[in-house]
Protein backbone atom coordinates (compact mmCIF):
# COMPACT_ATOMS: atom_id res chain seq x y z
CA UNK A 1 0.00 0.00 0.00
CA UNK A 2 1.41 3.36 -0.92
CA UNK A 3 1.81 6.01 1.75
CA UNK A 4 -0.89 8.07 0.10
CA UNK A 5 -3.37 5.24 0.31
CA UNK A 6 -2.38 4.57 3.91
CA UNK A 7 -3.11 8.17 4.86
CA UNK A 8 -6.50 8.14 3.15
CA UNK A 9 -7.33 4.83 4.75
CA UNK A 10 -6.40 5.96 8.23
CA UNK A 11 -8.32 9.23 7.87
CA UNK A 12 -11.42 7.36 6.76
CA UNK A 13 -11.00 4.87 9.58
CA UNK A 14 -10.69 7.62 12.15
CA UNK A 15 -13.79 9.33 10.78
CA UNK A 16 -15.64 6.06 11.20
CA UNK A 17 -14.46 5.76 14.79
CA UNK A 18 -15.39 9.36 15.61
CA UNK A 19 -18.79 8.84 14.00
CA UNK A 20 -19.39 5.80 16.15
CA UNK A 21 -18.35 7.57 19.32
CA UNK A 22 -20.86 10.32 18.63
CA UNK A 23 -23.60 7.88 17.71
CA UNK A 24 -23.36 6.39 21.20
CA UNK A 25 -23.97 9.69 22.88
CA UNK A 26 -27.38 11.19 23.45
CA UNK A 27 -27.43 14.73 22.08
CA UNK A 28 -29.63 17.05 24.13
CA UNK A 29 -30.70 20.43 22.78
CA UNK A 30 -31.12 23.43 25.08
CA UNK A 31 -31.46 27.17 24.58
CA UNK A 32 -28.96 28.58 27.06
CA UNK A 33 -30.91 31.81 27.44
CA UNK A 34 -33.72 31.08 29.91
CA UNK A 35 -32.34 31.26 33.42
CA UNK A 36 -32.65 29.54 35.81
CA UNK A 37 -33.79 26.67 33.54
CA UNK A 38 -30.81 26.92 31.23
CA UNK A 39 -28.36 29.69 30.55
CA UNK A 40 -24.68 30.42 30.02
CA UNK A 41 -22.05 31.62 32.45
CA UNK A 42 -19.47 34.32 31.70
CA UNK A 43 -17.17 31.75 30.11
CA UNK A 44 -19.92 30.79 27.66
CA UNK A 45 -20.45 27.39 29.27
CA UNK A 46 -24.01 26.07 29.46
CA UNK A 47 -25.31 25.95 33.02
CA UNK A 48 -28.65 25.79 34.79
CA UNK A 49 -31.20 23.41 36.22
CA UNK A 50 -31.72 21.45 33.03
CA UNK A 51 -28.05 21.15 32.16
CA UNK A 52 -27.31 19.60 35.53
CA UNK A 53 -30.44 17.45 35.36
CA UNK A 54 -29.55 16.26 31.85
CA UNK A 55 -26.20 14.87 33.02
CA UNK A 56 -27.92 13.23 36.00
CA UNK A 57 -30.56 11.58 33.79
CA UNK A 58 -27.86 10.36 31.41
CA UNK A 59 -26.03 8.73 34.30
CA UNK A 60 -29.22 6.80 35.13
CA UNK A 61 -29.66 5.87 31.47
CA UNK A 62 -26.04 4.74 31.39
CA UNK A 63 -25.10 6.66 28.27
CA UNK A 64 -22.93 9.69 27.69
CA UNK A 65 -24.56 12.99 26.78
CA UNK A 66 -23.57 16.03 24.84
CA UNK A 67 -25.52 19.22 25.30
CA UNK A 68 -26.14 21.18 22.13
CA UNK A 69 -27.11 24.83 22.01
CA UNK A 70 -30.03 25.79 19.78
CA UNK A 71 -32.07 28.97 19.34
CA UNK A 72 -35.51 28.61 20.87
CA UNK A 73 -37.53 29.36 17.74
CA UNK A 74 -35.86 26.50 15.87
CA UNK A 75 -35.90 24.00 18.74
CA UNK A 76 -38.63 21.59 17.59
CA UNK A 77 -37.66 21.72 13.88
CA UNK A 78 -34.03 20.98 14.86
CA UNK A 79 -35.14 17.94 16.87
CA UNK A 80 -37.22 16.66 13.96
CA UNK A 81 -34.27 17.17 11.60
CA UNK A 82 -32.06 15.09 13.92
CA UNK A 83 -29.65 17.83 14.97
CA UNK A 84 -30.08 16.33 18.42
CA UNK A 85 -32.13 13.59 20.06
CA UNK A 86 -33.89 15.26 22.96
CA UNK A 87 -35.00 18.72 24.08
CA UNK A 88 -34.51 19.91 27.64
CA UNK A 89 -35.18 23.61 27.39
CA UNK A 90 -37.93 24.52 29.82
CA UNK A 91 -40.38 23.27 27.22
CA UNK A 92 -43.88 22.77 28.61
CA UNK A 93 -45.90 19.78 27.49
CA UNK A 94 -48.78 21.15 25.39
CA UNK A 95 -51.29 19.55 23.05
CA UNK A 96 -50.04 21.75 20.21
CA UNK A 97 -46.43 20.57 20.54
CA UNK A 98 -47.54 16.98 21.01
CA UNK A 99 -48.81 17.05 17.43
CA UNK A 100 -45.18 17.38 16.30
CA UNK A 101 -43.13 15.55 18.95
CA UNK A 102 -43.65 13.37 22.02
CA UNK A 103 -42.77 14.24 25.59
CA UNK A 104 -41.47 12.29 28.54
CA UNK A 105 -43.32 12.64 31.83
CA UNK A 106 -42.87 16.07 33.34
CA UNK A 107 -39.84 16.64 35.55
CA UNK A 108 -40.57 20.16 36.74
CA UNK A 109 -43.36 22.67 36.70
CA UNK A 110 -43.37 26.40 36.47
CA UNK A 111 -46.08 28.97 36.80
CA UNK A 112 -46.30 31.85 34.40
CA UNK A 113 -46.96 35.41 35.44
CA UNK A 114 -47.34 38.88 34.05
CA UNK A 115 -44.65 41.35 34.96
CA UNK A 116 -44.67 45.17 34.81
CA UNK A 117 -42.33 47.95 35.84
CA UNK A 118 -42.91 49.34 39.34
CA UNK A 119 -45.42 52.17 39.25
CA UNK A 120 -47.35 50.80 36.28
CA UNK A 121 -51.13 51.16 36.26
CA UNK A 122 -51.29 47.38 35.87
CA UNK A 123 -49.70 46.84 39.27
CA UNK A 124 -51.81 45.33 42.04
CA UNK A 125 -54.65 43.84 39.98
CA UNK A 126 -57.52 42.45 42.01
CA UNK A 127 -57.12 38.74 41.19
CA UNK A 128 -56.50 35.50 43.10
CA UNK A 129 -52.86 34.48 43.68
CA UNK A 130 -53.01 31.73 41.10
CA UNK A 131 -55.47 30.33 38.54
CA UNK A 132 -55.57 26.98 36.78
CA UNK A 133 -56.93 27.13 33.23
CA UNK A 134 -57.47 23.41 32.66
CA UNK A 135 -60.91 23.56 34.31
CA UNK A 136 -61.29 27.23 35.21
CA UNK A 137 -63.50 27.75 38.24
CA UNK A 138 -65.62 30.85 38.86
CA UNK A 139 -62.75 32.75 40.46
CA UNK A 140 -60.46 31.96 37.50
CA UNK A 141 -63.09 33.12 35.02
CA UNK A 142 -63.55 36.32 36.97
CA UNK A 143 -59.77 36.85 37.01
CA UNK A 144 -59.63 36.44 33.21
CA UNK A 145 -62.34 39.09 32.90
CA UNK A 146 -60.39 41.47 35.14
CA UNK A 147 -57.30 40.87 33.01
CA UNK A 148 -59.22 41.37 29.77
CA UNK A 149 -60.38 44.78 30.96
CA UNK A 150 -56.95 45.77 32.30
CA UNK A 151 -54.99 44.65 29.23
CA UNK A 152 -57.31 46.09 26.57
CA UNK A 153 -55.20 48.04 24.07
CA UNK A 154 -51.99 47.33 26.00
CA UNK A 155 -48.80 45.91 24.49
CA UNK A 156 -47.81 42.61 26.05
CA UNK A 157 -44.42 41.13 25.16
CA UNK A 158 -43.53 37.45 25.02
CA UNK A 159 -40.84 35.19 23.63
CA UNK A 160 -41.84 33.66 20.30
CA UNK A 161 -43.20 30.09 20.08
CA UNK A 162 -43.87 29.85 23.81
CA UNK A 163 -46.89 28.80 25.86
CA UNK A 164 -47.11 32.46 26.84
CA UNK A 165 -47.59 33.50 23.23
CA UNK A 166 -50.14 30.70 22.75
CA UNK A 167 -52.11 31.94 25.75
CA UNK A 168 -52.27 35.54 24.50
CA UNK A 169 -53.20 34.34 21.00
CA UNK A 170 -55.97 32.13 22.43
CA UNK A 171 -58.10 35.20 23.17
CA UNK A 172 -58.69 34.25 26.82
CA UNK A 173 -57.76 37.80 27.79
CA UNK A 174 -59.32 39.46 24.77
CA UNK A 175 -57.49 41.27 22.02
CA UNK A 176 -54.15 42.46 23.34
CA UNK A 177 -51.33 43.87 21.26
CA UNK A 178 -48.84 40.94 21.31
CA UNK A 179 -45.17 41.57 20.52
CA UNK A 180 -42.90 38.58 20.07
CA UNK A 181 -39.15 38.40 20.63
CA UNK A 182 -36.49 35.84 19.80
CA UNK A 183 -35.20 35.56 23.37
CA UNK A 184 -36.46 36.28 26.88
CA UNK A 185 -33.48 38.65 27.33
CA UNK A 186 -34.93 40.90 24.62
CA UNK A 187 -38.37 40.78 26.26
CA UNK A 188 -36.78 41.91 29.53
CA UNK A 189 -34.91 44.75 27.77
CA UNK A 190 -38.08 46.11 26.18
CA UNK A 191 -40.07 45.74 29.39
CA UNK A 192 -37.45 47.85 31.16
CA UNK A 193 -37.34 50.43 28.34
CA UNK A 194 -41.10 50.90 28.54
CA UNK A 195 -41.94 49.67 25.05
CA UNK A 196 -43.97 46.87 26.64
CA UNK A 197 -46.80 47.70 29.02
CA UNK A 198 -46.43 44.19 30.43
CA UNK A 199 -44.60 40.95 29.69
CA UNK A 200 -45.65 37.35 30.17
CA UNK A 201 -43.21 34.51 30.94
CA UNK A 202 -42.26 32.05 33.65
CA UNK A 203 -42.45 33.90 36.97
CA UNK A 204 -38.90 32.76 37.78
CA UNK A 205 -37.57 34.32 34.56
CA UNK A 206 -38.69 37.76 35.79
CA UNK A 207 -37.52 37.36 39.38
CA UNK A 208 -34.15 36.16 38.04
CA UNK A 209 -33.91 39.22 35.77
CA UNK A 210 -35.00 41.64 38.53
CA UNK A 211 -32.39 40.20 40.87
CA UNK A 212 -29.51 40.26 38.36
CA UNK A 213 -30.23 43.61 36.71
CA UNK A 214 -31.53 45.48 39.74
CA UNK A 215 -34.39 46.83 37.61
CA UNK A 216 -37.73 47.39 39.39
CA UNK A 217 -39.61 44.58 37.65
CA UNK A 218 -42.60 43.33 39.64
CA UNK A 219 -45.05 40.48 39.10
CA UNK A 220 -48.71 41.33 38.78
CA UNK A 221 -52.00 39.47 38.42
CA UNK A 222 -52.41 35.77 39.10
CA UNK A 223 -49.91 33.04 38.32
CA UNK A 224 -51.10 30.85 35.46
CA UNK A 225 -51.03 27.08 35.03
CA UNK A 226 -52.89 24.43 33.04
CA UNK A 227 -54.78 25.01 29.78
CA UNK A 228 -52.59 26.73 27.19
CA UNK A 229 -49.77 26.66 29.76
CA UNK A 230 -49.47 22.89 29.46
CA UNK A 231 -48.78 20.24 32.03
CA UNK A 232 -45.28 20.70 33.33
CA UNK A 233 -41.95 20.64 31.56
CA UNK A 234 -40.76 17.40 30.01
CA UNK A 235 -38.10 16.02 27.70
CA UNK A 236 -39.07 16.49 24.04
CA UNK A 237 -38.33 13.47 21.88
CA UNK A 238 -39.01 12.55 18.24
CA UNK A 239 -42.22 10.56 17.81
CA UNK A 240 -40.49 7.56 16.21
CA UNK A 241 -37.85 7.41 18.97
CA UNK A 242 -39.93 5.33 21.43
CA UNK A 243 -36.84 3.54 22.75
CA UNK A 244 -35.27 6.80 23.97
CA UNK A 245 -38.61 7.97 25.40
CA UNK A 246 -38.76 4.84 27.59
CA UNK A 247 -35.19 5.40 28.74
CA UNK A 248 -35.88 8.99 29.77
CA UNK A 249 -39.13 8.09 31.55
CA UNK A 250 -37.33 5.39 33.54
CA UNK A 251 -34.45 7.74 34.35
CA UNK A 252 -36.83 10.48 35.53
CA UNK A 253 -38.58 7.96 37.80
CA UNK A 254 -35.27 6.94 39.36
CA UNK A 255 -34.02 10.50 39.73
CA UNK A 256 -37.27 11.56 41.36
CA UNK A 257 -37.22 8.62 43.78
CA UNK A 258 -33.65 9.38 44.81
CA UNK A 259 -34.51 13.03 45.36
CA UNK A 260 -32.13 14.22 42.63
CA UNK A 261 -34.69 16.33 40.77
CA UNK A 262 -35.89 18.24 43.81
CA UNK A 263 -32.32 18.72 45.03
CA UNK A 264 -31.18 20.21 41.70
CA UNK A 265 -34.40 22.24 41.36
CA UNK A 266 -34.01 23.76 44.81
CA UNK A 267 -30.40 24.63 44.00
CA UNK A 268 -31.32 26.60 40.85
CA UNK A 269 -34.82 27.94 41.56
CA UNK A 270 -34.54 28.58 45.27
CA UNK A 271 -37.64 26.40 45.77
CA UNK A 272 -38.64 22.88 44.82
CA UNK A 273 -39.98 23.17 41.27
CA UNK A 274 -39.78 19.43 40.62
CA UNK A 275 -42.81 17.30 39.80
Amino acid sequence: MSIFKKIIFSVLLSLLVIGNVNADKIRIGTEGAYPPWNSKNEAGKLIGFEVELAYTLCRYIGQQCVIVEQDWDGMIPALIMRKFDAIMAGMSITAERQKAISFSQGYADEVASLAVMKGSSLEGLDTPAGINLTKPNAAAKKALKTLTAALAGKTVCVQTATIHQNFLDSGDVGKVNVRTYKTQDEVNLDLASGRCDAALAAAVAFSDYAEKSGKPVVLTGPTFSGGAFGNGVGVGIRKDDTELLKKFNAAINKARKNGDISRIATKWFGFDASM
Partner: protein, 223 residues
Protein backbone atom coordinates in the same frame (compact mmCIF):
# COMPACT_ATOMS: atom_id res chain seq x y z
CA UNK B 1 -43.78 18.27 2.13
CA UNK B 2 -46.94 19.75 3.58
CA UNK B 3 -48.48 21.38 0.50
CA UNK B 4 -51.65 22.28 2.37
CA UNK B 5 -49.64 24.35 4.84
CA UNK B 6 -47.86 26.06 1.93
CA UNK B 7 -51.18 26.96 0.32
CA UNK B 8 -52.64 28.14 3.63
CA UNK B 9 -49.69 30.30 4.54
CA UNK B 10 -49.42 31.93 1.10
CA UNK B 11 -52.15 34.59 1.58
CA UNK B 12 -50.86 35.44 5.08
CA UNK B 13 -47.32 35.83 3.75
CA UNK B 14 -48.52 37.89 0.79
CA UNK B 15 -50.23 40.23 3.24
CA UNK B 16 -47.01 40.52 5.21
CA UNK B 17 -45.10 41.33 2.02
CA UNK B 18 -47.05 44.60 1.96
CA UNK B 19 -45.29 45.61 5.21
CA UNK B 20 -41.97 44.60 3.67
CA UNK B 21 -42.68 46.77 0.63
CA UNK B 22 -43.73 49.69 2.84
CA UNK B 23 -40.53 49.46 4.88
CA UNK B 24 -38.51 49.20 1.67
CA UNK B 25 -40.13 52.06 -0.21
CA UNK B 26 -40.05 54.54 2.68
CA UNK B 27 -36.43 53.65 3.49
CA UNK B 28 -35.35 53.93 -0.15
CA UNK B 29 -37.13 57.26 -0.54
CA UNK B 30 -35.55 58.78 2.58
CA UNK B 31 -32.25 57.07 1.82
CA UNK B 32 -32.11 58.58 -1.65
CA UNK B 33 -32.22 62.11 -0.22
CA UNK B 34 -29.70 61.26 2.49
CA UNK B 35 -27.51 59.71 -0.20
CA UNK B 36 -27.77 62.72 -2.53
CA UNK B 37 -27.04 65.09 0.35
CA UNK B 38 -23.91 63.22 1.44
CA UNK B 39 -22.75 62.69 -2.14
CA UNK B 40 -22.81 66.49 -2.62
CA UNK B 41 -20.88 66.90 0.66
CA UNK B 42 -18.33 64.38 -0.61
CA UNK B 43 -17.75 66.54 -3.70
CA UNK B 44 -17.15 69.58 -1.51
CA UNK B 45 -13.57 70.89 -1.47
CA UNK B 46 -13.67 71.66 2.29
CA UNK B 47 -11.72 68.85 3.94
CA UNK B 48 -13.83 68.77 7.14
CA UNK B 49 -17.14 68.54 5.31
CA UNK B 50 -15.63 65.93 3.03
CA UNK B 51 -14.26 63.85 5.93
CA UNK B 52 -17.56 64.08 7.81
CA UNK B 53 -19.47 62.68 4.82
CA UNK B 54 -16.81 60.02 4.30
CA UNK B 55 -16.99 59.04 7.99
CA UNK B 56 -20.75 58.58 7.77
CA UNK B 57 -20.60 56.26 4.79
CA UNK B 58 -17.58 54.45 6.26
CA UNK B 59 -19.38 53.68 9.54
CA UNK B 60 -22.68 52.60 8.00
CA UNK B 61 -21.11 50.54 5.24
CA UNK B 62 -18.58 49.03 7.61
CA UNK B 63 -20.97 47.60 10.21
CA UNK B 64 -23.64 44.92 9.79
CA UNK B 65 -27.20 46.15 9.33
CA UNK B 66 -28.31 43.86 12.16
CA UNK B 67 -25.93 45.59 14.57
CA UNK B 68 -27.22 49.00 13.43
CA UNK B 69 -30.84 47.98 14.07
CA UNK B 70 -29.98 46.54 17.48
CA UNK B 71 -28.12 49.69 18.52
CA UNK B 72 -30.96 51.94 17.37
CA UNK B 73 -33.73 49.76 18.84
CA UNK B 74 -32.38 48.02 21.95
CA UNK B 75 -29.33 50.23 22.53
CA UNK B 76 -30.94 53.68 22.57
CA UNK B 77 -33.90 52.30 24.53
CA UNK B 78 -31.60 51.50 27.44
CA UNK B 79 -30.51 55.09 27.94
CA UNK B 80 -32.79 56.63 30.52
CA UNK B 81 -32.06 60.21 29.48
CA UNK B 82 -32.90 59.38 25.87
CA UNK B 83 -36.27 57.99 26.91
CA UNK B 84 -37.18 61.30 28.53
CA UNK B 85 -36.64 63.31 25.32
CA UNK B 86 -39.27 63.95 22.68
CA UNK B 87 -37.36 61.64 20.32
CA UNK B 88 -38.61 58.67 22.33
CA UNK B 89 -42.07 59.07 20.76
CA UNK B 90 -40.48 58.00 17.46
CA UNK B 91 -37.88 55.57 18.80
CA UNK B 92 -40.43 53.79 20.97
CA UNK B 93 -41.99 52.30 17.87
CA UNK B 94 -40.15 49.36 16.26
CA UNK B 95 -41.52 50.47 12.87
CA UNK B 96 -39.74 53.84 12.95
CA UNK B 97 -36.57 52.35 14.43
CA UNK B 98 -36.43 49.95 11.48
CA UNK B 99 -37.06 52.75 8.98
CA UNK B 100 -34.37 54.95 10.55
CA UNK B 101 -31.83 52.12 10.50
CA UNK B 102 -32.65 51.10 6.92
CA UNK B 103 -32.65 54.71 5.66
CA UNK B 104 -29.28 55.51 7.22
CA UNK B 105 -27.84 52.27 5.86
CA UNK B 106 -29.10 52.61 2.31
CA UNK B 107 -28.26 56.35 2.43
CA UNK B 108 -24.61 55.48 3.02
CA UNK B 109 -24.47 53.12 0.06
CA UNK B 110 -26.45 55.49 -2.14
CA UNK B 111 -24.07 58.36 -1.35
CA UNK B 112 -21.15 56.25 -2.56
CA UNK B 113 -23.01 55.21 -5.71
CA UNK B 114 -23.94 58.81 -6.54
CA UNK B 115 -20.49 60.20 -5.68
CA UNK B 116 -18.78 57.84 -8.09
CA UNK B 117 -21.42 58.64 -10.71
CA UNK B 118 -20.77 62.39 -10.32
CA UNK B 119 -17.06 61.83 -10.64
CA UNK B 120 -17.42 59.94 -13.91
CA UNK B 121 -19.09 62.95 -15.60
CA UNK B 122 -16.61 64.31 -18.14
CA UNK B 123 -15.49 67.91 -17.36
CA UNK B 124 -16.14 68.76 -21.00
CA UNK B 125 -19.88 68.45 -20.50
CA UNK B 126 -19.83 70.97 -17.64
CA UNK B 127 -17.51 73.27 -19.57
CA UNK B 128 -19.86 73.12 -22.53
CA UNK B 129 -22.66 74.32 -20.25
CA UNK B 130 -20.53 77.12 -18.86
CA UNK B 131 -19.52 78.29 -22.34
CA UNK B 132 -23.21 78.60 -23.18
CA UNK B 133 -23.62 80.90 -20.19
CA UNK B 134 -25.81 78.51 -18.16
CA UNK B 135 -25.76 79.21 -14.43
CA UNK B 136 -23.92 76.87 -12.05
CA UNK B 137 -27.09 75.67 -10.31
CA UNK B 138 -28.85 74.86 -13.54
CA UNK B 139 -25.79 72.98 -14.78
CA UNK B 140 -25.82 70.94 -11.58
CA UNK B 141 -29.52 70.09 -11.45
CA UNK B 142 -30.28 69.89 -15.18
CA UNK B 143 -27.04 68.36 -16.45
CA UNK B 144 -24.97 66.74 -13.73
CA UNK B 145 -27.77 65.18 -11.64
CA UNK B 146 -29.61 63.54 -14.57
CA UNK B 147 -26.36 62.10 -15.95
CA UNK B 148 -25.32 60.88 -12.49
CA UNK B 149 -28.68 59.21 -11.94
CA UNK B 150 -28.44 57.43 -15.27
CA UNK B 151 -24.86 56.35 -14.52
CA UNK B 152 -25.82 54.97 -11.14
CA UNK B 153 -28.92 53.02 -12.23
CA UNK B 154 -27.25 49.57 -12.46
CA UNK B 155 -25.53 49.93 -9.09
CA UNK B 156 -28.66 51.42 -7.52
CA UNK B 157 -30.76 48.53 -8.80
CA UNK B 158 -28.44 46.24 -6.90
CA UNK B 159 -28.85 48.36 -3.79
CA UNK B 160 -32.66 48.10 -4.03
CA UNK B 161 -32.46 44.33 -4.12
CA UNK B 162 -29.94 44.19 -1.27
CA UNK B 163 -32.13 46.50 0.80
CA UNK B 164 -35.23 44.45 0.10
CA UNK B 165 -33.48 41.41 1.54
CA UNK B 166 -32.18 43.57 4.38
CA UNK B 167 -35.73 44.44 5.47
CA UNK B 168 -36.07 40.84 6.68
CA UNK B 169 -34.08 42.01 9.73
CA UNK B 170 -37.13 44.06 10.77
CA UNK B 171 -38.48 40.83 12.23
CA UNK B 172 -35.71 40.92 14.85
CA UNK B 173 -37.29 44.04 16.35
CA UNK B 174 -40.76 42.45 16.56
CA UNK B 175 -42.13 43.73 13.24
CA UNK B 176 -44.43 41.38 11.39
CA UNK B 177 -42.91 41.71 7.93
CA UNK B 178 -42.64 38.80 5.48
CA UNK B 179 -39.94 37.07 7.53
CA UNK B 180 -41.67 37.91 10.81
CA UNK B 181 -44.94 36.30 9.74
CA UNK B 182 -43.07 33.31 8.31
CA UNK B 183 -41.41 32.81 11.69
CA UNK B 184 -44.75 33.20 13.43
CA UNK B 185 -46.35 30.48 11.29
CA UNK B 186 -43.35 28.22 11.96
CA UNK B 187 -43.71 28.82 15.69
CA UNK B 188 -47.08 27.09 15.67
CA UNK B 189 -46.57 24.51 12.92
CA UNK B 190 -42.88 23.63 13.46
CA UNK B 191 -42.40 23.25 9.70
CA UNK B 192 -39.74 25.75 8.62
CA UNK B 193 -38.93 24.32 5.20
CA UNK B 194 -42.42 24.66 3.73
CA UNK B 195 -43.01 28.15 5.08
CA UNK B 196 -39.57 29.50 4.17
CA UNK B 197 -39.90 28.14 0.62
CA UNK B 198 -43.11 30.15 0.15
CA UNK B 199 -41.59 33.25 1.79
CA UNK B 200 -38.44 32.87 -0.32
CA UNK B 201 -40.57 32.58 -3.44
CA UNK B 202 -42.29 35.86 -2.64
CA UNK B 203 -38.92 37.58 -2.08
CA UNK B 204 -37.70 36.15 -5.39
CA UNK B 205 -40.76 37.45 -7.18
CA UNK B 206 -40.22 40.95 -5.76
CA UNK B 207 -36.59 40.81 -6.90
CA UNK B 208 -37.81 39.83 -10.36
CA UNK B 209 -40.05 42.92 -10.50
CA UNK B 210 -37.35 45.34 -9.29
CA UNK B 211 -34.74 43.81 -11.57
CA UNK B 212 -36.91 44.28 -14.63
CA UNK B 213 -38.00 47.75 -13.61
CA UNK B 214 -34.38 48.89 -13.42
CA UNK B 215 -33.60 47.16 -16.70
CA UNK B 216 -36.47 49.01 -18.33
CA UNK B 217 -35.27 52.36 -16.95
CA UNK B 218 -31.72 51.66 -18.09
CA UNK B 219 -32.95 51.05 -21.62
CA UNK B 220 -35.24 54.04 -21.64
CA UNK B 221 -32.56 56.45 -20.52
CA UNK B 222 -29.62 54.96 -22.39
CA UNK B 223 -27.47 57.27 -24.46
Amino acid sequence: MDFELMANSFPKLLNAAVITLKLLSISLFVGLFIGLFFAILRLNKNIYINKFAYGYSYVFRGTPLLVQIFIIYFGLGQIEYFRSTFLWVIFKEPYWCAIIAFSLNTGAYTSEILRSAFQTIKPGIIEAGKSLGISKNIIFFKIQVPIAIRQSLPAYGNEIILMMKGTSLASTVTLMDLTGVAKYIISTTFKPIEVFIVAGGIYLFMTFIFHNLIKFLEKKYSF
